[in-house]
């Protein structure tokens, strides 16, 4: 019987130790709402880019489903911003106030833009990592390009503008031999690869 009680003591101690470690762990280091691989899945699964047709609709007040979020500093925001945009500076993106503001948008989708497209993309990534359970979109390009191609003077050719598109004919520039039949009537040198597209339902969520 002495053996049994010794065994019970040891197993209870081990159990208590594991329980304490788990409980302490539960209440610490809980910074993120999504694991890193969940974030990777979330960003590779969907294309969050909003095109300038949709931006046009927002600017003209035709749709009320989106809210433009300006990620630049307050100073830049006051100097000029896209129509009906709200300001959440990138530096204060993860503060409680900002996340509360985003969560308060019930049926509306936030559309992020900044001085660079990567700021908006990274902001979306951080919000997803933080566990924001909401569809977040990113405006293609940046503040300057949106202003130039969509707000001031709408150019359909640039409607799906994004910094992440090839701007040059790289294989030619780098002398890569092209496989298959090659169009010879293309002018040599640098040609812009911005595609002129017809209107199509694109870039939704």
């Amino acid at each position: 019987m002495n053996n049994t009680s010794k065994l019970n003591h040891i197993s209870l101690l081990a159990f208590a130790f594991v329980a304490i470690v788990v409980v302490v762990n539960l209440f610490t280091t809980n910074n993120y709402g999504r694991s890193n691989s969940q974030v990777v899945n979330a960003i590779t699964e969907t294309n969050p880019l909003m095109n300038y047709h949709q931006l046009r609709n927002i600017a003209d007040g035709k749709t009320n489903d989106f809210v433009l979020v300006d990620l630049r500093s307050e100073e830049d925001f006051l100097n000029g911003h896209l129509p009906s945009a709200i300001n959440i500076p990138f530096a204060s993106l993860l503060e409680k106030q900002s996340i509360k503001t985003l969560n308060r948008l019930k049926d509306q989708t936030p559309v992020l833009y900044g001085a660079k497209e990567s700021d908006a993309q990274n902001a979306r990534l951080l919000l997803l990592a933080k566990g924001l359970d909401k569809n977040i979109m990113v405006l293609g390009g940046n503040y300057e390009s949106a202003l130039r191609y969509a707000v001031k003077d709408f150019q359909p050719a640039f409607s799906s503008f994004s910094e992440e598109k090839a701007r040059f004919d790289y294989p030619r520039l780098m002398g890569v031999p092209q496989a298959g039949p090659k169009e010879d009537n293309q002018p040599a040198g640098i040609i812009p690869a911005v595609k002129t597209e017809t209107l199509s339902a694109q870039g939704g969520c």
Binding site: I10, F15, V22, N36, A91, Y170, L173
Partner: protein, 407 residues
């Protein structure tokens, strides 16, 4: 934190040293458990001694419970743990041969070595047989290679096949283990006709068994898995790093390193593989976003000798890859400023190259840019194997074809 080798905490060259320590420990435990006796080992087949089953089941369950808890607490990344891949038919045939040998000889490979070292003659003969078998296998390997490497099924997990969470499977297995211990003890006592007095003097294992089941049961109702690992960079620090620009490598530096063919400067192309195969910067390797955190590149990223530079067409995809990698705690990672678009814009539209340079720095910059232009135009920069993904030179391929031996 762990696994130690893919994370770069333990030097791969120390592998053999740790293998020696673990091997000594393993041999000691086997000998202490009485596994150098072939009668004891074969007992499991006749029902008079189940110690083999209990020892291996205990080892498996202990490891499983430990890994489940460590992974739950975010201290171990299970996706980085090596799992032996399944070759279905060679596993079945190999298992049958091993089982037959086990009954006939009374040893399995590991225990025969233990028994041979304590001087058992039959174990030494068994080892001679094993070595002969290995020799025959190797000699006729070409004849059964297709069978040996055939019916490869990857790494299927039982819980994934049944579509249940890992914690449920672990819970079920713990219950099976506890039941198996109780039942085999019964069978053993019946077969040996153990006297009642001896049975009543044994310690009762009810409490430890119950606590084990309880702890696994509790795990079912705790949240699935910790969202952040212990070694990850917290979100606020990540945000602060993103506001600084020191992660960017400018066009001049990048072209200089490309021209110099600097081995400590590795370009990582995060575009899709098809685009990478079409063309890429010289010497670049292709790691897309979803491969970034995988086991395959972990060792590469934990090696901090080289400067690793992400690039894509623009800046944003590369920058997102940087953010994910930085959160995972990778060091010495950078982003090509402006991406390919920015780089080629500077090189070919070169508005910022002054006609007559005023100082040394400017002169250097002009020289690099002119050289780079020439290089790209003349196709010198073209990597020789541009149509194939460039092999990663720093990775030790961990996957070994074929099964590894058990105990």
């Amino acid at each position: 934190m762990a696994p130690f080798i893919p994370e770069g905490i333990v030097n791969p060259e120390l592998n053999l040293f740790f293998a020696l320590l673990l091997g000594i420990g393993f041999g000691y435990v086997l000998e202490q458990a009485g596994f150098s006796s072939s009668r004891k080992l074969a007992g499991v087949f006749y029902g008079y001694d189940f110690v083999v089953l209990r020892v291996f089941f205990t080892a498996g369950v202990t490891a499983m419970v430990g890994l489940t808890f460590l992974s739950f607490m975010g201290w171990i990344d299970m996706s980085l743990v090596y799992v032996n891949p399944l070759f279905l038919w060679s596993a079945i045939v190999g298992g049958a041969i091993m089982g037959l040998g086990f009954i006939l000889g009374g040893y399995c490979p590991g225990t025969s070595i233990v028994a041979a070292t304590v001087g058992k003659l039959d174990a030494m003969l068994f080892l001679v047989g094993a070595v002969t078998g290995i020799f025959i296998f190797g000699h006729f390997y070409n004849d059964w290679e297709s069978f040996y490497n055939g019916s490869f099924l990857g790494n299927p997990f039982i819980y994934e096949t049944f579509g249940m969470p890992r914690s449920w499977f672990a819970f079920a297995l713990v219950i099976v283990a506890v039941l198996a211990f109780a039942i085999t003890q019964r069978i053993e006592d019946n077969v040996n006709q153990t006297p009642k007095e001896i049975i009543s003097q044994r310690p009762s294992y009810v409490m430890p068994g119950m606590l084990l089941i309880l702890s696994m049961f509790a795990l079912l109702f705790l949240p699935e898995q910790r969202k952040s690992n212990a070694q990850e960079v917290p979100p606020h620090e990540l945000l602060a790093m993103l506001q600084q620009n020191d992660r960017f490598v400018d066009v001049e530096e990048a072209t200089y390193k490309i021209i110099q063919q600097d081995r400590d400067f590795i370009l990582i192309d995060v575009r899709e593989p098809e685009e990478f195969e079409r063309f890429a910067l010289p010497g670049a390797i292709n790691i897309t976003m979803d491969e970034l955190l995988g086991r395959r590149y972990r060792e590469f990223f934990s090696d901090n000798k080289e400067k690793k530079v992400f690039y894509s067409y623009g800046e944003s995809s590369a920058d997102m890859a940087w953010t994910v990698a930085k959160r995972a705690g990778f060091e010495e990672i950078y982003v090509l400023q402006g991406g390919l678009n920015g780089m080629f814009d500077t090189l070919f539209n070169g508005s910022d190259v002054p006609e007559d340079p005023k100082n040394m720095d400017e002169e250097f910059s002009v020289r690099f840019i002119t050289k780079a232009r020439q290089m790209f135009k003349e196709g010198e920069a073209l990597p020789k194997e541009a149509t194939q993904p460039v092999p990663v030179r720093t990775i030790i391929e961990l996957e070994t074809p074929g099964g590894r031996g058990g105990c």
